[in-house]
């Protein structure tokens, strides 16, 4: 069959030369537009006495309208739309950074003043006004988080091993996987209520125990550990397991000696992230652990102070020494944020150092 007959377009005389050159605004256009928008807005702001926020908003509006308009005039509608979206998308990122920057700035600015050796090594026993420190809360957070880790990691890792190595797609494993997913969404306060209900039924009303906090945190932590471990175990190549089986190694030793070591880096990363996540939990601890002014290292005996609850109660107690308490709260927040962010970065570093070795 002849294509030419069926294609009216082919009949158009002398096809135009290829239009490859499209008019373009220069590569520096976005930058220029941004500078112009900022300048205009600043000028208007100075003349009309606007606030900084108004100036920034105006500058942004000018950029979002101006750059695409310029592009539309020269490059056409499609390119203009592309530029509009690019600007908007990057704006969302910048906007998302605002709270982070503001928060980090405020925490550091308000918190650094009270940080001192005393602040980190003294508790609040016998302190009414200034002075005292967060030693008891720091230790409480460490003890409770460590306990929660000690509960969650074995359960989480073993459960992940079940899911990947033993259950592999059977009904029970699918159910557990699903429940673990759902469990990641349990509100932390519900975990606290759960621990409270359990311990109240066992020890009677009004019970406040560090271990209860560890149990509540474990409810939050286990699903994270399971997910992370599961992902890492999936990444261990099947051929390594087969290599071990072929050497006559029993399955459980293969898992313990070959699979787990290979996945260790990722598991450690996951656990570290899980620790970072629960170390900052407040609500469950408020309910089941309470707080105290005195160092208590025994999670099986009475209330313990923890950093998050310390922060909360410091700002909500009020009274004559409100200013001192608020300052201590910011200081504790700085310490807590530093701990959690360090754990996070550490987790990335560990993850990268141990990242699964593929190829040579």
């Amino acid at each position: 069959m002849s294509l030419i007959d069926e294609r009216p377009v082919a009949a158009t005389p002398a096809p135009a030369a290829m239009a490859l050159v499209a008019p373009q605004i220069p590569a520096y256009a976005p930058l220029l537009a941004a500078v112009l928008a900022t300048g205009l807005a600043a000028l208007a702001g100075l003349l009309l006495g606007w606030s900084l926020v108004a100036v920034v908003l105006t500058a942004w509006a000018l950029l979002v309208v101006g750059l695409p308009a310029w592009s539309a005039a020269i490059e056409g509608e499609r390119r203009a739309k592309d530029r509009l979206v690019t600007t908007v998308v990057w704006s969302t990122f910048a906007l998302a950074m605002v709270p982070l920057a503001s928060l980090v700035w405020e925490v550091v600015a308000n918190g650094h003043a009270v940080i001192s050796a005393e602040f980190l090594t003294y508790d609040m026993r016998g302190v009414l006004g200034a002075g005292g420190g967060i030693y008891h809360a720091l230790m409480g957070t460490l003890v409770i988080t460590a306990l929660a880790t000690a509960i969650s990691v074995p359960i989480g890792v073993l459960a992940a091993i079940y899911l990947i190595e033993y259950g592999k797609g059977n009904r029970l494993a699918r159910t557990i996987t699903f429940l673990v997913d759902v469990m990641t969404g349990i509100p932390s306060i519900v975990a606290g209520l759960f621990a409270f209900a359990v311990f109240t039924l066992i020890f009677g009303p009004g019970v406040r125990l560090g271990i209860g906090g560890a149990v509540a945190l474990s409810v939050l932590m286990i699903p994270i550990v399971v997910r992370a471990t599961e992902e890492m175990l999936k990444l261990v190549p099947e051929e390594l397991r087969e290599a071990a089986y072929a050497l006559g190694v029993p399955k459980w030793r293969t898992i313990v000696k070959v699979v787990l070591p290979t996945a260790l880096g990722g598991i450690v990363t996951g656990v570290t992230l899980a620790i970072a996540r629960v170390a900052g939990e407040t609500a469950p601890l408020l309910i089941i652990v309470g707080t105290t002014t005195t160092l208590n290292l025994n999670p099986f005996d009475g209330r313990m102070a923890t950093l998050p609850v310390f922060i909360f109660s410091s700002v909500t107690t009020g009274g004559k020494y409100d200013a001192e308490q608020t300052a201590r709260a910011w200081g504790a927040a700085l310490v807590l944020v530093a701990i959690v962010m360090t754990l996070n970065l550490l987790a990335r570093a560990v993850g990268r150092a141990f990242s699964p070795r593929t190829g040579r």
Partner: protein
Amino acid sequence: MSTTTTARSAPTAVSRRGDAVFAGLATGAGLLIMLALAGVAIFLIIEGVPAISASGEQAYGKDNIVLYVWPLLFGTLLAAVIALLIATPLAIGVALVISHYAPRRVARPLGYLIDLLAAVPSVVYGLWGRAVLAPAILPAYAWLADHLGWLPFFDGPARTGRTILTAAIVLAVMALPIITAICREVFLQTPRIHEEAALALGATRWEMIRMTVFPYARSGVISAVMLGLGRALGETMAVAMVLSASGIITIDLISAENPSTIAANIALNFGNASGTKINVLIFSGLVLFVVSFAVNFLGRWIAARGQVKA
């Protein structure tokens, strides 16, 4: 290599005790997780049920538990939904930056920055929201009340920054990294061959994203939003510290009278509660558990269904 070794043990049956024990342990851990989740439900029910007959004094002055919990549930849903309305477009934009817009070398660090948002403890968000955001945003509310007051949402009067909208903004910041993380993953999973097909047809980057990335990622994005919703529903401290709650039902987002949320209400009142009031609070926790379970369930279900299709 021709050394004769001692008579080798022929392949015989050996007891596989190690294997049985280890498999048992692993299975036990899996079952324990199921048990834990069931335990959460059961214990909440045991401790929450006595609240059903509570009234008057015991139910914080309400005639019955439903009248007590309903405004809280309303506030919980309102705050969470507004938070998502704010967070979802932002999260999609941020995820696009990381997956498709940023040069590869900076995409990773940018991703870390967003993850750091998730790392900030909620009590610190509460502190920040209360001390920094609420006062800073009050002028904006005044502006809204003045200019958009005809909308029922901005009826005002704006006299405090500690409104449900402020709480929702803080919740949005907290839900953003979760939604972003999942969106980023699904965006990155868009098959390269489809993206290239679009580009080879002469699509711009945005057209390529609209033609291939969004349709592909739709169920993933929905489930991400559901998970973000789960987070926003359950968040406690940030709301407890930021919101000035009156326990009423209103859709005015910037007035001084705001509905409270279940989680914040529990955190604030639990310390002073005794007797049946504890049961009342635990009952409200049970309601929250059921709602967030349903939301997460739905989210995972959508995600799972999407996977089959993709």
